[in-house]
Each structure stands twice: as structure tokens, then as C-alpha cells.
């Protein structure tokens, strides 16, 4: 038990957080330059200079390049046709082709944005250098856009993932361990012995739940320390507030674990049942993908998904420093939740006893 509590979170945090990244750097690019002119070379250099692209191969056959795209050897092809420079200066329009492997739509659209911005930079340089004598009096209109990314200016994806993974870890302890522990007593038959002792039902349930409650709370604190030390996770908000919410949240989960244990007879069933619901609700909670991108019905389902509440709140408190008033709604909901689930579990439990 103890190694599971201490080692698993560190390993999971280390591997999960590093693996679960969407940050795009070094997109493998293949160049097919048939023009071989000074301008085409400059354009290629411009791509080379960008931190987003790695030109790992240049060839002279677009068909070969397409095969590379098929075989996953490259992610994006820059194709500069013959007479590119000639047409650029004669017809004012130089055409290049960019072929992106769009199997992963998300990275493809980012790759597209990056390549567009490289080319538009190149265009303005071209204009500044060669175009001064042809400038027309009326300048084109432009909108200057200033982007600022609050709460995470470097767009460090790890800051987003650490709290998410922590929720998974803490919840696993809450649901799995509780449910398995009680069913095990049932399976072995020792629950009968407990039932004939003068111990009261609420005492039995409290006695079963309190240790897991403490372990899970401890796990959360431990995970936060690991996150802070290893990933330099900024903790903007108040830790006591986070603990308050976590404590209430855990009551819901422990209640769920108890509920699952009352409807199963064997450890295997518990594993499958909790596994099924766990995966479904964790994925829906927005751990990897934003809640807003989900369809409406999924967002409604999420209003009864305790994982989604904690996922939202832990990120709000840790990353944005949200205060008591900001999370009041979630706090009230989770409390109501806890009362319902716990009373349901205790009521169901009586029937079994």
C-alpha cells in the first residue's frame, strides 16, 4: 500500500505531465525547391530560422515528398515550383504550395498558422527591400493586434496538466481504494464478523472512510509539493481554500466508492464498474480537452460530474488565484452533492447489513 501511495504519484506526475504536451516545436519539414533561386533560398532560410520548423530533408521530387508524408517521415512539405522567382517579379505573385499532414487536425492547424506567419513576415521584408520605389501613396490599413496570455504567459502546458493529473490521482484513491477495501471484507466474509460486533453503522462507515479521506488529502498535498519542486508550478491562490474544497470533494468520492461497494459482490466487479465510470467521467471532466469544446449535452452531464467541478476549481485556484467568492457556486454544489451521495450510500448500506 505505502509504495503505491508514495511512488505512483511521482512516477505518474513525471511521465504523464511530460507526455501530455501539445506544445509544438520542431515540426519536421521537407523542402522541394525546384526553383533554386536567391529568393527561394531566402524563403527556406526564413523557415529554418523559425523555432517551429526543422528542415530535415530537401529533395527535388514532389512525389517522393508525398510518399514521405504517407510514411510519417515528414509532417509538412514546402513546395516551391519552377519559375517561382520569375513569376514573383513579373506577375507580382509567387506561388508556393504547403502540404500538411492533417491526421491530427489540431497540430495541423497550428502548423498552418506558423507557416502563414513565416510567409507573411517574408512578404513584408520583401516589400521593404524591393518595393520602396513602387509604393503607392495610400498605405494599406492595418490593425495592430497585441496578444497577452494571462496566468501563463509562456504557455507552459505543464502548468495546465499538473493540477489535472493531481485530480486523477486523488480521485483514484477516493473511489478505487474505498470500494475495493469494503468489498474485500465482503468477499472474505469478515464483514459478517464486524456486523455482529456492537459497533454502530455510522461508526463502521466513518471508520472505513476516514483513513482514505486522510490519505487522499495527504496525497494532494504531496502532489502539490512535487509539482512545485519539479515543475515549478505557480500556486497563485489560497491553499486552505483548495484544501476546503478538496475535503468536501473527497466526501463525494468516498460516498461513491461506498455506493459502488454496496452494489458489487467481488473485487473484479468493483474494478470493472469503477473503471468504466472513472474513464468516462475523467475524460469528460476536461482534463485533456477544454470543457467549452464539448457539445451542449456533455456540458449538462458535467453539471453532475464531480470530477469536472474539482478539475475546474483546482485550476482556477492554483493558476488564476480565484478566491472564495469566485468558486462559491462550485463549493455549494459539491456540498449538496456530498450530502446526497453519502446519505444514499449509507441508506443502501443498511440493506446489505
Amino acid at each position: 500500500m505505502l509504495p503505491i501511495i508514495f511512488i505512483v504519484p511521482i512516477v505518474q506526475l513525471l511521465i504523464l505531465v511530460n507526455a501530455a504536451t501539445m506544445e509544438m516545436k520542431h515540426i519536421d519539414m521537407e523542402v522541394v525547391d525546384l526553383d533554386l533561386s536567391p529568393t527561394s533560398r531566402k524563403l527556406i532560410n526564413k523557415f529554418m530560422g523559425s523555432p517551429f520548423f526543422d528542415i530535415h530533408k530537401s529533395g527535388f521530387s514532389i512525389n517522393q515528398a508525398k510518399v514521405d508524408l504517407l510514411e510519417n517521415k515528414t509532417q509538412i512539405i514546402l513546395y516551391i515550383p519552377l519559375d517561382f522567382e520569375k513569376r514573383l517579379y513579373k506577375e507580382n505573385k509567387g506561388e508556393v504550395q504547403i502540404l500538411i499532414d492533417a491526421v491530427n487536425g489540431m497540430t495541423a492547424s497550428l502548423a498552418n498558422v506558423y507557416s502563414q506567419s513565416v510567409i507573411s513576415d517574408f512578404n513584408s521584408e520583401l516589400l521593404a527591400k524591393k518595393g520602396t520605389n513602387v509604393l503607392i501613396n495610400t498605405r494599406p490599413k492595418s490593425i495592430t493586434v497585441e496578444n497577452s496570455y494571462w496566468y501563463n504567459p509562456q504557455l507552459n502546458f505543464k502548468f495546465y496538466m499538473v493540477p489535472g493529473i493531481l485530480v486523477i490521482l486523488v480521485s483514484m484513491i477516493g473511489v478505487f481504494l474505498t470500494a475495493i477495501n469494503i468489498v474485500r471484507e465482503k468477499e472474505i466474509g469478515t464483514i459478517e464478523q464486524v456486523n455482529v460486533t456492537p459497533i454502530k453503522k455510522y461508526q463502521f462507515i466513518a471508520g472505513k472512510l476516514v483513513p482514505f479521506w486522510i490519505i487522499a488529502m495527504f496525497e494532494l498535498g504531496f502532489g502539490l509539493v512535487v509539482g512545485k519542486l519539479l515543475f515549478k508550478l505557480p500556486i497563485e491562490g489560497s491553499i486552505p481554500l483548495l484544501n476546503l474544497f478538496a475535503a468536501l470533494y473527497l466526501l463525494v468520492l468516498l460516498g461513491l466508492g461506498l455506493l459502488i461497494s454496496t452494489i458489487s459482490d467481488s473485487q473484479q466487479q468493483v474494478m470493472f464498474l469503477s473503471f468504466f465510470f472513472f474513464i468516462t467521467f475523467i475524460l469528460m471532466s476536461g482534463v485533456f480537452t477544454p470543457e467549452e469544446s464539448m457539445p451542449k449535452w456533455a456540458q449538462y452531464v458535467n453539471s453532475i460530474n464531480p470530477f469536472a467541478y474539482f478539475m475546474r476549481v483546482i485550476r482556477m485556484i492554483i493558476l488564476k488565484g480565484s478566491g472564495f467568492m469566485d468558486i462559491l457556486k462550485e463549493l455549494v454544489s459539491i456540498t449538496v452533492f456530498g450530502i446526497i451521495v453519502l446519505s444514499l450510500a449509507i441508506w443502501r448500506y443498511r440493506k446489505v447489513v
Binding site: N92, G94, E95, V103, Q116, K141, L155, L273, M284, M316
Partner: protein
């Protein structure tokens, strides 16, 4: 042979009588595909934003309208001062605030340039950068239309083609991964647990002294799961094809051939695990930590392998689903033939042989 068919029949009954497990065996794939198809999406869609418009002129109103009517954004609130920006972010109500400067239209006309500030809630860095990129695109589009009469000399026009997935749908990426996950789960986890159960209950000894040869015991154990896995594979492909319009551009024969190869790999892995585990619980934990998590995280299923740190990239080479996901994507989405995917196929084949060899070795020592 007769005793062998009897044994296979017994195995089928074992699975069919456990109703709860059966539901999960067939319910999980369907639920997963639907979740990944509908819920797990990266696309920007109805993102709530707020606007702080110091100018409130025709141009800013038009721009705001353009942004809202694009379908990507929903206007949550019109702010009136800078202080409320922080407040609305803290409440977690909006993802982006757009600030138009004073006299926006006038400056755009007179100075030819006006400025917009986009503030994004980057606590979710991914969607923050997507949201900002989309907004930028809309603003840029507006400027381009305004300047349509003006043609700068020497302009490079890129023609971008999104190969294999022009609609940039994320379900295209997730269905192959889900298939690998489900097959791994059903084949490896279920086999290992079912063999471990015989050991735990002591019935394995009974089987071993029966006239059945060890190889027959193993094949008989595995048989029902081959069938289950095949059914699941067909269900997943059919769901992807009919519900999510996922194309199957390559040959169906190659697709099924590779699927069967992967199923045998997963089954041999399951047998290997069962030779190491003596109780169901141990088999379960090994399955979850050694199979589930790597399949989800290190196969490139959700997170692209290219973006991971080098060490983890190396680690992915020993994760079988990594190759299978690559093969599936190539065959289904890119329409590649067997010629282009033979390296991955060879690796899977080699891994299968190694796993079978190892478990044969382990199984023998247990007999003595």
C-alpha cells in the same frame, strides 16, 4: 480433440454468464468511441468571450459582429472598464477579452492603423493560443477585405492543403487510438485476469493434470477473446465509418490483417502477464499500469509523439500500440498499402513472437 472443444465451450460459458463483465466488454468500446467522437475535441466552438469597447463606433461594432457570427465565439458580456477584466477571468466565465482602443475607426482611417488588445486566459494554454489565433484570423480577414483594392507588389501566396483530413476533425485522430486501447484492454487484460483467476482458485492445477496439453489450455483460454476482440474491432470501425464518416482509404484486407496481428500480440502479452501474476488483483494492476497508461499516453493516441521529450520518445518504441496506431492511421486515413507500413508490421510481428516465446518459457517452469 473432443475434450478440447469441451474446454473452449466452458471458456465461452465462463464469459457469457458474467453479465456485468459482458456489458462492460461491449459497452466500453461503444461508450469510448462516442465519447472520443463527440466529447473529446480540440476544436474551437462557442467559446465565451467578453468585449471591452472604448470606441463603440461602426468599425468596432462590425468587427465584434464578425467575431460573434463566426460561430467560434459567444459574446458573454460587454465590459466597461479594465478592472472587470481580471474579475471575469477569475470567475472562469470567459476565455478571451477583446479590447478596442479609443477612436478606433477614426485612427484606422486617419493613421491607417488601429490597435486591438487580445487578452486570453492561458491557464489552458492550448485553447488560449487557438482562440487568439482564430480571433487574429478574423481581424486579418477584415483588414484584407478593406484593402482589396490595394495589391502589394511581390507577394508570395502560399496554397495550403490539409492532406488526409481536410475538415481537421479530431475524431479522425482518436478513432484509431481508441481501437488500439480497446483491443489492448479486452485482449490482454481479460486474458491475464481469466488465467490468474484459475490460478487463484486452484482450478489451474486441475486443468494441468487433465489430458489437455498445455498448448491446448492456452489456445482454449485465448479463443473466446480472439472472437470478442474481432467483434469489437468490427464494431469500432463500423461506428467510425457510419457515425463519424471516418474514411477507410486503404484496403480492408490489410486493415483486418493488421488488426488480427495486433490482437495476437495483445493476447500473447496477456498470457505473459498471467504467467507472472498469481492473483487477479496483481494481474489487474500490471495491466493498468503497464498497458493502459502507456497505451493512452505513449502511443500518440491523444498527444503527438513528436512533441514529447526525447527520453519519452525513445520509450514509445517499446510500446506496441504506438506501431498499431501508426498503421491504422496510415491505412484508414492515408490509404497506404502494405509496402509503406512493413517496418511497423515487422516490429509487431517480432514482438508477438518474443512474447509467445517468453510465456512458453515461463509456463513450462510453472509446470514442474
Amino acid at each position: 480433440m473432443n475434450s478440447f472443444t469441451g474446454f473452449v465451450k466452458k471458456e465461452f460459458l465462463h464469459i457469457l454468464r458474467d453479465f456485468r463483465t459482458l456489458i462492460i466488454l461491449f459497452g466500453l468500446p461503444i461508450a469510448q468511441i462516442l465519447i472520443f467522437g463527440y466529447v473529446i475535441r480540440n476544436e474551437i466552438d462557442d467559446v465565451r468571450i467578453a468585449v471591452l469597447d472604448y470606441s463603440k463606433d461602426d468599425v468596432t461594432l462590425e468587427l465584434t459582429n464578425k467575431i460573434i457570427s463566426s460561430g467560434f465565439f459567444l459574446l458573454y458580456e460587454n465590459l466597461t472598464n479594465e478592472a472587470s477584466v481580471e474579475k471575469i477571468f477569475r470567475k472562469g466565465k470567459v476565455k478571451e477579452v477583446i479590447i478596442f482602443e479609443k477612436n478606433f475607426a477614426e485612427r484606422l482611417e486617419r493613421d491607417r492603423t488601429a490597435s486591438v488588445q487580445l487578452i486570453a486566459d492561458a491557464s489552458d494554454p492550448n485553447s488560449a493560443s487557438l482562440v487568439v489565433n482564430y480571433t487574429n484570423g478574423i481581424l486579418f480577414d477584415y483588414v484584407k477585405k478593406q484593402n482589396s483594392g490595394f495589391n502589394p507588389p511581390f507577394k508570395i501566396v502560399p496554397e495550403t492543403r490539409m492532406m488526409f483530413n481536410p475538415g481537421l476533425k479530431s475524431v479522425f485522430m482518436f478513432v484509431p487510438g481508441t481501437m488500439a486501447l480497446i483491443l489492448m484492454l479486452v485482449s490482454a487484460m481479460m486474458t491475464s485476469i481469466s488465467i490468474a483467476r484459475e490460478k487463484e482458485m486452484g482450478t489451474m492445477e486441475v486443468l494441468l493434470v487433465s489430458p489437455l496439453r498445455p498448448i491446448q489450455i492456452i489456445v482454449g483460454k485465448v479463443m473466446p477473446y480472439v472472437l470478442l476482440s474481432c467483434i469489437n474491432a468490427v464494431v469500432i470501425i463500423a461506428l467510425g465509418y457510419f457515425v463519424f464518416q471516418l474514411p477507410i482509404r486503404g484496403s480492408l484486407i490489410v486493415l483486418f490483417g493488421e488488426t488480427i496481428l495486433f490482437i495476437s500480440l495483445a493476447l500473447s502479452l496477456g498470457i505473459l502477464i498471467s504467467t507472472m501474476a498469481n492473483s487477479q488483483q496483481v494481474a489487474m494492476f500490471i495491466s493498468i499500469f503497464a498497458l493502459m497508461l502507456p497505451t493512452i499516453l505513449l502511443s500518440g493516441f491523444i498527444f503527438p509523439i513528436e512533441n514529447m521529450p526525447k527520453i519519452l520518445q525513445w520509450l514509445t518504441y517499446i510500446v506496441p500500440p504506438r506501431y498499431f496506431v501508426e498503421i491504422l492511421r496510415s491505412v484508414m486515413l492515408k490509404g497506404t498499402g502494405i509496402i509503406n507500413i512493413w517496418p511497423q508490421t515487422t516490429v509487431l510481428l517480432a514482438m508477438t513472437i518474443i512474447f509467445i516465446g517468453l510465456s512458453a518459457l515461463k509456463f513450462k517452469t510453472r509446470l514442474e
